[in-house]
């Protein structure tokens, strides 16, 4: 649906040119949510501004349905902007307009007539759950409500892509949830493709299908969240999975020690008990825990196994879909 190809952008800095984006490639399938994460200064904002068509990249392409939007000008550029709904960073509502008036802004720009405009505004206020705030001014709304109105506004002109730049950075955890729910509904009910730029892995945890990790203007990791978490070496796994405390003293009494990542209801619920009974091994949880990525339960446990067939048990878990990585600190070298 939206692809970013080889995007580069440099800014003049105090010590020569600063390369904010250095050949960024992204691909977001229709109807999915991609989270772009990374530390401060990684180029997230620049990327968001380029995709929002507020900043022109030095080179590269941004394609929505195959059409490159980067080189457009004038009327064509304005039309292209309507294909990408933008929830900008920070407070962006018109403070002299009601919530409904703010949502109507893109429709006015698109030349939608009064009656249809009102119908559409009502639909969107309903989508974000703020029908009763239609006549309220931004200063009468909470931060979370304002941000949901900003999402409704971004969706007003029926864009195929929704870009949200740090949509939750100014919000407390409770209101963050309400904004993320609204983004998720936009994808589920309108089929919009969503690109969220955020420093908050919680956003990825809750609504993202895919994730791209940006570092120094480059994409260093890009893929499905559930695939990446199974790769213990990935940055995504490191930041999304429950931490495992190092406790070598507890580990020496086991024949095998391993980190196991389990994805999905079936795996989390059944895999470890079944391995225990199948292979007659004793299996202890030494650390880690359970979390949820979107609707999917995901676990990372450090397990200690005792028994002759411990290796077979680990192998079986791995074959059954669990991701197994033996720890180097374990005693298996001695036992084997």
């Amino acid at each position: 649906m939206i692809t970013v190809e080889n995007l580069t952008k440099t800014f003049p800095g105090s010590t020569g040119q600063v390369r904010a984006l250095d050949g960024v490639n992204l691909d977001v399938a229709a109807g999915t949510v991609l989270g772009v994460v990374g530390p401060s200064g990684a180029g997230k904002s620049t990327l968001a501004r380029c995709v929002a068509l507020l900043e022109r990249p030095d080179s590269g392409a941004i394609r929505v349905d195959g059409t490159d939007l980067v080189s457009l000008d004038g009327t064509a550029l304005r039309a292209a902007r309507r294909q990408i709904g933008v929830v900008p960073q920070g407070d962006s509502l018109l403070r002299q307009r009601t919530a409904a008036g703010n949502v109507a802004l893109p429709l006015e720009a698109a030349g939608v007539a009064g009656p249809q405009r009102r119908t559409r505004v009502a639909e969107l206020l309903d989508l974000v759950g703020l029908t009763d705030k239609a006549g309220s001014y931004p200063d009468q709304l909470s931060g979370g409500q304002r941000q949901r109105i900003a999402v409704a506004r971004a969706l007003a002109a029926s864009p195929s892509v929704l870009l949200a730049d740090e949509p939750t950075s100014a919000l407390d955890p409770d209101t963050t949830g309400s904004v993320l729910t609204v983004l998720d509904r936009a994808r589920a009910e309108l089929g919009v493709t969503v690109l969220v730029v955020t420093h908050d892995m919680g956003v990825v945890r809750r609504i993202c299908d895919d994730v791209a990790v940006l570092e120094d203007g480059r994409v260093v990791e890009h893929g499905k969240v559930l695939d990446l978490v199974s790769d213990a070496a990935s940055r995504t796994a490191a930041s999304l999975l429950p931490a495992v405390d190092q406790n070598p003293a507890a580990e020496v009494s086991f024949d095998r020690v391993a980190d196991v990542v389990l994805v999905g209801f079936a795996a989390v619920g059944a895999l470890l008990p079944e391995a225990t009974s199948r292979f007659g091994v004793e299996l202890n949880l030494l650390g880690g825990g359970l979390t949820r990525l979107g609707e999917t339960p995901v676990a990372r446990f450090r397990v200690g196994l005792k028994g002759e067939r411990a290796d077979s048990a680990l192998e079986w878990i791995s074959d059954a879909g669990g991701s197994v990585r033996r720890t180097l600190s374990g005693p298996q070298g001695v036992a084997a």
Partner: protein
Amino acid sequence: MRSATPWSIVFDDLLVATGETLYMVVVSTLIAVLLGAPVGIWLQLTAPGGLKPRPVLHKVLGFVVDLGRSMPFLVLLVVLTSLTRLLLGSTIGPTAAIVPLAVGAIPFVGRLVQNVLAEVHVSVVEAAVTTGSSTSRIVRSVLLRESLPALVNAVGVTAIALLGYSAMAGVVGGGGLGDLAVRMGYQRFNDRYLWSTVVVLAIIATAIQFTTNRVARGIDRRRTASV
């Protein structure tokens, strides 16, 4: 000591002069706002970081505006007499005074409007840009609309400044309260004229300030009005 002018005569003269002053202030404020606001919009649009950054044009426009503002009004009055004669066929009377008053206030209004528009937060403007709005729509629906309370106050500030200038215009035959104060009050040592003009001028200035403040606050939808 000679007898003071009867209050009834002073009142009649004051009434006429007040009418002339209000006429000069209202019309010249209107013209100055109508012509100065576009200048302010242009200054803001062409500014670095504006919607249509044009650094050279912005500098030139800014220079002309500052030149206009640095011109002492009394000098402008004299310099513009030929323009006034060209436009109106006369350089005497309140109508003739409107020309230098309005022209003198255009750069003033331009800077005021630019400063007011610059206060609209950049994220709000960019949000409008991403909706695919044209520049003219953004100027109308976002820049001007969002800063309307501050613009109303700017009109008040302009009107009060022009009230002061209109008193000077009286000196070159413009009539009005300033003329009355100088001719009847100062030059003829008539305190009744002098002080009653001062009172009327103070009342007009206060009324303008009060009204524009009230209107600005009345139309402002922000909880904490920062105007």
